[in-house]
Symmetry: D2
Subunit: 341 residues, 4 copies
Amino acid sequence: MRIGVLTSGGDCPGLNAVIRSVVHRAVVDHGDDVIGFHDGWRGLLEADHRKLDLDAVAGVLATGGTILGSSRVRPEQLRDGVERARENVAALGLDAVIPIGGEGTLKAARLLSDAGLPIVGVPKTIDNDIASTDVTFGFDTAVGVATDALDRLKTTAESHQRVLIVEVMGRHTGWIALQSGMAAGAHAIVVPERPFSVDELTEVVGRRFAAGKRFAIVVVAEGAKPRPGAMDFETGGTDVYGHERFAGVARQLAVELERRLGKEARPVILGHVQRGGTPTAYDRVLATRFGWHAVEAAHGGAFGMMTALRGTDITLVPLAEAVEHLKTVPAERYAEVDCVL
Amino acid sequence: MRIGVLTSGGDCPGLNAVIRSVVHRAVVDHGDDVIGFHDGWRGLLEADHRKLDLDAVAGVLATGGTILGSSRVRPEQLRDGVERARENVAALGLDAVIPIGGEGTLKAARLLSDAGLPIVGVPKTIDNDIASTDVTFGFDTAVGVATDALDRLKTTAESHQRVLIVEVMGRHTGWIALQSGMAAGAHAIVVPERPFSVDELTEVVGRRFAAGKRFAIVVVAEGAKPRPGAMDFETGGTDVYGHERFAGVARQLAVELERRLGKEARPVILGHVQRGGTPTAYDRVLATRFGWHAVEAAHGGAFGMMTALRGTDITLVPLAEAVEHLKTVPAERYAEVDCVL
Amino acid sequence: MRIGVLTSGGDCPGLNAVIRSVVHRAVVDHGDDVIGFHDGWRGLLEADHRKLDLDAVAGVLATGGTILGSSRVRPEQLRDGVERARENVAALGLDAVIPIGGEGTLKAARLLSDAGLPIVGVPKTIDNDIASTDVTFGFDTAVGVATDALDRLKTTAESHQRVLIVEVMGRHTGWIALQSGMAAGAHAIVVPERPFSVDELTEVVGRRFAAGKRFAIVVVAEGAKPRPGAMDFETGGTDVYGHERFAGVARQLAVELERRLGKEARPVILGHVQRGGTPTAYDRVLATRFGWHAVEAAHGGAFGMMTALRGTDITLVPLAEAVEHLKTVPAERYAEVDCVL
Amino acid sequence: MRIGVLTSGGDCPGLNAVIRSVVHRAVVDHGDDVIGFHDGWRGLLEADHRKLDLDAVAGVLATGGTILGSSRVRPEQLRDGVERARENVAALGLDAVIPIGGEGTLKAARLLSDAGLPIVGVPKTIDNDIASTDVTFGFDTAVGVATDALDRLKTTAESHQRVLIVEVMGRHTGWIALQSGMAAGAHAIVVPERPFSVDELTEVVGRRFAAGKRFAIVVVAEGAKPRPGAMDFETGGTDVYGHERFAGVARQLAVELERRLGKEARPVILGHVQRGGTPTAYDRVLATRFGWHAVEAAHGGAFGMMTALRGTDITLVPLAEAVEHLKTVPAERYAEVDCVL
């Protein structure tokens, strides 16, 4: 068999572990040839690729980033490229293509699959927002990095008698905020799924100070939004250049909380550090299993499918199902944590 | 409600997170009283306990060990103490007892439950060998510690051009060996479920050197045993004092591999470092959820049950079911890793 | 002997290790009494204190923060309180006071010492800007945290083909920027000691892209300032609330570099995470030695002095000397790193 | 200029950082050519080498091991090879050779230097036992790894109410034992410089239990020896194969302490994990500075010298001086720690 693999979308710890696993399983066990496309879908569309043998993946299991490079893609872009993708797959003699990526990538993968290309997807998201799989690789590492930071920030908040508002990743869902907040014992957790009220947050934090505590840690997902009418500011805002992109909800909440509580409040924006670097053991194992099962799916002709974790098993689910909706944090998980607003 | 909690058996990262979670849920949300028994079952049998309020569990979420102390117990010992346990539960006015522990503890818990005491168990094992739950807290931390060590040992093995035989925990099952070996890219993994042949191991490692590699990492679970007749030594053995306890399979394999391969081989025995210290974020979240759901079970009158993880949900399973058999690594997991003997 | 100890100023990993060491040396070896003042100088001025025995410092060696609390102080404030400090020292029967803190604290300490109080200072600064000592505790931890973050950010910058501008602590000196930048192999390092030119930085980063590299990491100390006339913006600036405090040099450099280079550039502001949490082994040892030697100094009557590291020895230096000037990065250290602007 | 570089002796975190720094300084700043010899002195004697340009050292700063390979050497072996070394240096047109290694390597380096070869040494030892330099790279990482392990072991010792005897590296000196023991708050530290008495150790640990504590951590350097006549066993001993090499002092002390104290005592032998893997920021900076200054020394014609850290400065010291004696822990450092026997 001849297999192409590519990585697409944002950085995510475990990408290299998947690539390595695909190569090991395919080359060693099946005697396949494997090629890697450069920079995600671009590589497929431009037939920009290289051979991946065992030497090519030596030493990459524990590394962050992706040896193949990546790029972001909008599914529409792929739509225009279906024919070129088909031609390149044919010209390169590929029996299967394994794209590794997030929601956008999987939508693009579905599009190609619907057009008849032999696709097996591997889901990737540090945000944990892909439906149909219990979890994907990268998320555990992101939560671990955020939790380490929260552990450190706790002593600082306490020494300085401050409120720290710590912004973690999660544009549409609160998974990282929830898990790292639970893991570090945050005093309030603010998530996109539940638009917040500053009054309510002020009350939660204020109650803590009233009880004699000297500091508080609030974890807020970057995508958290105020409840309509509940706050007198817009998330986003502009910086000194009239540039919107760097403004964050944590900075604004810090200003509000300080004003209302009369306590020093400071924002900490963890940022990109959550999505880079060496994956946790958990993520390396999951990524390795995904790669192994993607190759098996290709050999079994299970195209149009995506690898998924269900309990302790790796299964295959239709790409169509995976991209139907985002996986948000369910109500029963919130119920377990008093401090989610 | 009035709830007693105890921790029993070996050290396991996440015990304090469970205790803290039980207290938070019970005291804050239900207005319960919680007491903690000292040193596991001994505390229950001797009514040696202390009140657990919020202050008592402040700052313990991320700590290893157990603030209540622990002791090992054989279920038979409990058998003789059922009446004293019953008396103490009555005298202390307890509506529920939550023992947190491994196989032995859960067997004892079942015994007390069968005798009519209001028990809700919480499973604990770094070895991941308790049936009925996908995984328990402590395991992820143990795998993480072992993987970190393997990452470090790789460069040393390579620089010294050696075979390193790394012994990890797992008396009856190969879970830690399998997961850490996968995560670190070990070249052979030896597990208790599959008695090994030294000839076969020699061949696997020898093939690697024949292919031009300069080092090899073998991960071996402490409980690994030679295939009958396949090796001319007994695991265990005696040390200079005629003392059996320190001998390990890794030391003996190192001697054998060095002799047969003509390459320097060295044992590394990771030991207790795998079961102590701060839990990973994953384990803290799981432990916290287990504590929360144990309190809910108590309030719901679901006695004789144990908390369990199934997929992403916490469920309750009968204690009877949990202790029926050890959860060994299934064949399909081995199939995913070429290097498991 | 009767000794008082206090911690003052910002959080710094190792404060508790000093306190513990003072108690161990004084109580166990000399049979002294030790008391701790709460919240820094405030505790001394208000005689707000508690007894510190071995139990009080059990388990704190590896913890961040300070068990005594802290507060910031301006030396002028102390000036007005010299008499109250003297009265309290007398009333409490103290033979020595050991303040642990940074530049402000040591200036205050000198003031009290000049007024005749029996003071032995212990220097503390994560910024490494205190003269007369090779280094102080806290700095190694801060550099380690920053380096870990930079290691992670590298893979992300590479995957996303971006310039990342990483802001680290250092209001007046570039020590953290220099050491973490060297440790992580940053491509440019911007420090307060050398006002920067955006043109020059653009050129340095641009040259890297011209040579075919796909990403760049720039480390910038928070106190870095543009060379007069060399940049068309002011550091600082205001946010959506007209609030100055959250604006940072990294954000502005990111905007500038993106505009000039035509490459995505993003700021990452590490913030408080650098000054909290468990200290490195290096910092714990140094802090422990400082505590031990501070007690010896007190017993030797060496008042008006401060503990200092010189090579591998702990020595005593006059407080007067320590606070004379900030310790900036010397030119020969810059020469070792091509990429310092 | 044309420079050859080699790494010799045991693994040590930071070797690659030195190599990289030599290449960066020599190639970028001086326009030199650099070659690397394979497997230490063997590479020099057999002229087995490769070109080292910027690409060759890309990404190695934070990696453990050595990209050039290593081998152990006895200075006598070099004696016989002086002529071949001289011929190869001439044939390859080398103006300088930079060997990076420990005591044995530096002795060999001195021998070649005395024979007129242009040598600049870089000291390397995780044991910190090289005289003439305050410290070398690798040591901080080893202490960090040992301290992390001790932190974890503490909770396990406490939960199990045990004595843990933790054996760390240090064949001739107690530096790692002293620093990690101080950093982790060990209850007794046993070092090679002070032959121990089991009676005394039993008394120290026993006193702790008598004071109501439930566990104890003893750190022992691998090279620790009993005081003559003070113990009824020989360190070393034989294992089941009559093989001496795996027996360790920690195992024997555990047996003795358990017998005398009536408390469970267990050995933990940290082993090779202390010398592999990614270096700390401290070690990366020191290694980078050593590489930079070695190149400067070569350009300045300062042959027969070795780089050294003195305070915060990198200086050059004669190789002759560096190998005169081992740097043992001085008495005043022991005095700072009550628990060193």
